[in-house]
């Protein structure tokens, strides 16, 4: 069933791209294509976490990466009622409604046979306890081994060596699965490609500082979640360069969105239909940056490929003590001329939501308005449009008061 949605999505996007080639459309074509490819009989499919696993390693083996969270949780965008129906299947099998909707939906989809086969199931220890446990449950379902990239909370030579050692072993597992010997030169090439994409993304992130903001807001947050799927592939750099080009054209032509308030979006943007974008549009609010959309990692060193990829993992804002996350948020505040910060607090996201107070206090010190917007990513039963409207309008009122 989900495969069909993605086939329809892809053909619709391709038609749109023919008429008006836009980089964001291409990004979504890539996403849909990857998911469709995962259903090919001959494909070597590696289940993983697009946003928390160093994908350059998978690119070096030319496997098809598959993220069960993203694949299944775009469903509410197509059909929110169907998503609830599928979550019910997981709940009836014993998965508590206190478990994140992302994982209940993924488990439900797998139980119903909507997900592709897995040749290898990789996950990471961060983002989050729920995801790594859901990966284990799904591995049991498919009769596969669940492999966890364990990423510690601290950055040191020891932790880099530990993570790098695990990545080397995962390369060995990929060799077993694909039947292809590990090719160090190919990994280095993927890292070079990834570095070029990073530099292109850096240009884009720089242009996003322009007032008014040149690019539409929500994709910035979403892109930071799934664009890493393409890390190590040429197309990633091309998409970023096209976005840079489109942004420059908009700035040159003055074709910019009306912008009264600039906000940063923390955590995730819900894929299920919400009234958030409508309220933002009506009130001239633009999301100019997401905390994961920053170029927070350094250039990867192709001479130390595994260590570089380990460091990439360790530097993620959601790894490490809260200071690592706050540092990134403060940089956004410094660089993007913000009027406010919104933290989307999805019901079961313990690792993100439990820092709300700490983030709020840090922003208070800097006199930046801050809103904790509670809701749910995929479960419409736990999302209230009226409450969202109330919270956002009050927040916009606060920002307006500051401006006046």
């Amino acid at each position: 069933m989900l495969k069909k949605y993605y086939e329809e999505m892809k053909s619709g996007l391709e038609a749109a791209y023919q008429q008006k080639p836009r980089a964001w459309t291409m990004m979504n074509i890539q996403l849909a294509s990857t998911f469709i490819e995962a259903f090919h009989e001959d494909a070597k499919v590696v289940w993983t976490s697009f946003y928390s696993f160093p994908m350059e390693l998978l690119a070096a083996f030319d496997v098809v990466p598959f993220d069960f969270e993203i694949f299944t949780n775009l469903l509410p965008m197509f059909d929110a009622d169907k998503a609830v129906e599928i979550m019910n299947v997981a709940e009836e099998a014993g998965y508590s409604t206190d478990i994140c909707s992302f994982h209940r939906l993924a488990v439900g989809c797998s139980m119903l046979g909507y997900t592709p086969k897995a040749d290898l199931m990789l996950t990471s220890s961060y983002y989050c306890d729920g995801k790594s446990k859901a990966n284990q449950s799904l591995a049991e379902h498919y009769g596969k081994e669940s492999i966890m990239l364990d990423v510690p909370n601290e950055i040191s030579k020891d932790s880099v060596d530990y993570v790098a050692g695990q990545l080397r072993r995962i390369a060995g597992k990929l060799t077993e699965v694909t039947g292809r010997a590990f090719d160090l030169d190919r990994l280095r090439e993927c890292i070079r490609i990834s570095n070029r994409a990073r530099r292109a993304y850096g240009q884009l992130a720089g242009l996003q500082k322009v007032t008014p903001y040149p690019y539409i807001g929500v994709p910035v947050v979403n892109m930071s979640i799934f664009a890493n799927m393409l890390a190590g592939k040429e197309i990633q750099e091309q998409i970023y360069l096209d976005m840079v080009k489109e942004s420059k054209e908009k700035i040159m032509k003055g074709k910019l969105v009306p912008e009264k308030y600039r906000v940063a979006w923390l955590a995730w943007f819900p894929p299920q239909p919400t009234n958030i974008t409508q309220i933002f549009r009506e009130n001239g609010v633009t999301i100019v940056m997401g905390e994961l959309a920053r170029n927070y990692w350094g250039e990867l060193d192709e001479d130390l490929p595994f260590e570089s990829l380990a460091l990439w993992s360790l530097k993620n804002p959601y790894v490490g003590p809260i200071e690592q996350r706050l540092k990134g948020i403060n940089e956004i505040v410094d660089e993007y001329k913000l009027d406010g910060v919104v933290h989307f607090s999805t019901d079961a996201c313990r690792h993100s939501c439990a820092a709300q107070k700490l983030i709020g206090d840090a922003l208070k010190e800097r006199d930046v308005p801050y809103l904790v917007l509670d809701g749910d990513m995929s479960d419409k039963r736990k999302y209230s449009p009226d409450r969202t409207q109330l919270l956002l309008e009050n927040f916009i009122g606060v920002m307006a008061g500051r401006k006046s």
Partner: protein, 352 residues
């Protein structure tokens, strides 16, 4: 709550207490406050682990702030965030995050060993007592002695009727973990001696035997409910019971830090690191060893690690013909009435 001076509080069974002892300090397994977590609600979002909230409420109230320090581990997302909040809002002398890997292979053991060495160094600086290998080996021997005696009692519990009430054994374990007992080994020895001296009990009606498995439990409420309903608890697979006592460290190892790392990352592992299949295999073995009639699985609310394992465990126990009940708890067991009704119904079913 009174806290011993020169003590270091810890919150998770992954902390090697031997290192704290070797630094001349007393390890104290920290309990959350008994009454309410209300004070924590202003700092933590609603859907947060009640154990974490309880600990934080206690810290805010000055409970563990009286300790010389506290040590956290990367036990779970909730504990990581508790560490952040603790540093920010609770004045404490020594707040340490001990990195504990989620894997248990040789890479993880090597990394954990290095982390344990750093921990020992830092703790030694704090206490003024350098952690030397000799002291550490002595601490390992002392802890192994306590653990082996508890393991001996666990073996005795396979008999029916139970030599020691499940709730009593659980409370004894809690007392040892809390550091309240002055002479843990002595207390355990007297219990073992008493059991050995007990004349073979007369034939009494066999009570349903219930295995309890879950995460952290610091009060015997659930045990009391089970026993009150006419059943007995021969074995408890909990962070604060067998999962602490059922591991021993190789005291003759060439590298004592490596031995500690191997022991603490090894079995019995909780849902944090073990797969549901591994947990099921361990519990199934206990079901046979202890002639268990029913398994009572419990989890703290909002514990993603345990909650995700429950469907697999329930499904497999049911398929194996072992009656199973899953109940969530709020750490404080504040809804004991509802819990009692469910447990009583379960035990009634076991009696049929």
């Amino acid at each position: 709550m009174t806290v011993a001076i020169n003590s270091i509080g810890y919150f998770c069974s992954l902390v090697p207490v031997e290192i704290i002892m070797a630094a001349g300090l007393k390890p104290v397994r920290v309990k959350g406050r008994a009454e309410t977590t209300a004070a924590a609600d202003a700092y933590m979002y609603p859907n947060m682990c009640p154990y974490v909230k309880s600990l934080f409420a206690d810290g805010l109230d000055g409970g563990k702030a009286a300790c010389d320090g506290v040590v956290f581990t990367r036990s779970c997302d909730g504990m990581r965030r508790l560490y952040d909040a603790w540093k920010a809002y609770i004045p404490s002398g020594f707040v340490y995050m001990l990195e504990a890997p989620k894997n248990c292979d040789d890479l993880a053991v090597d990394y954990f060993s290095s982390q344990l060495r750093s921990f020992a160094q830092q703790l030694g600086k704090k206490s003024g007592v350098e952690v030397k290998a000799g002291n550490l080996v002595e601490a390992v021997k002392a802890q192994n002695r306590v653990r082996r005696m508890m393991q001996e009692l666990y073996v005795m519990q396979s008999k029916s009727p139970l030599p020691v009430k499940g709730s009593e054994l659980f409370k004894l374990g809690l007392e040892i973990l809390s550091g309240e007992g002055r002479d843990s080994a002595g207390t355990l020895k007297s219990v073992i001696d008493k059991v050995k001296k007990q004349a073979a009990a007369g034939q009494s009606r066999r009570k349903p035997r219930v295995l309890v498995s879950g995460n952290v439990m610091d009060r015997p409420g659930l045990f009391d409910i089970i026993e009150g309903a006419g059943a007995e608890v021969p074995f408890a697979d909990l962070c604060t019971a067998s999962r602490y006592f059922e591991r021993t460290v190789d005291e003759n190892a060439h590298d004592i830090y490596g031995a500690l790392a191997t022991a603490y990352l090894g079995e019995p592992r909780c849902s944090r690191a073990a797969t549901p299949a591994e947990i099921y295999a361990r519990l199934s073995k206990k079901v046979k060893e202890y002639a268990i009639d029913g398994v009572l699985l419990t989890s703290l609310k909002y514990c993603d690690q345990v909650l995700n394992d429950m469907p697999y465990l329930v499904r497999n126990f049911t398929a194996a013909g072992t009656p199973v009940l899953f109940v969530e708890n709020d750490y404080l067991f504040s809804d004991s009435g509802r819990l009692r009704t469910r447990v009583e119904a379960f035990i009634e079913m076991l009696e049929k």
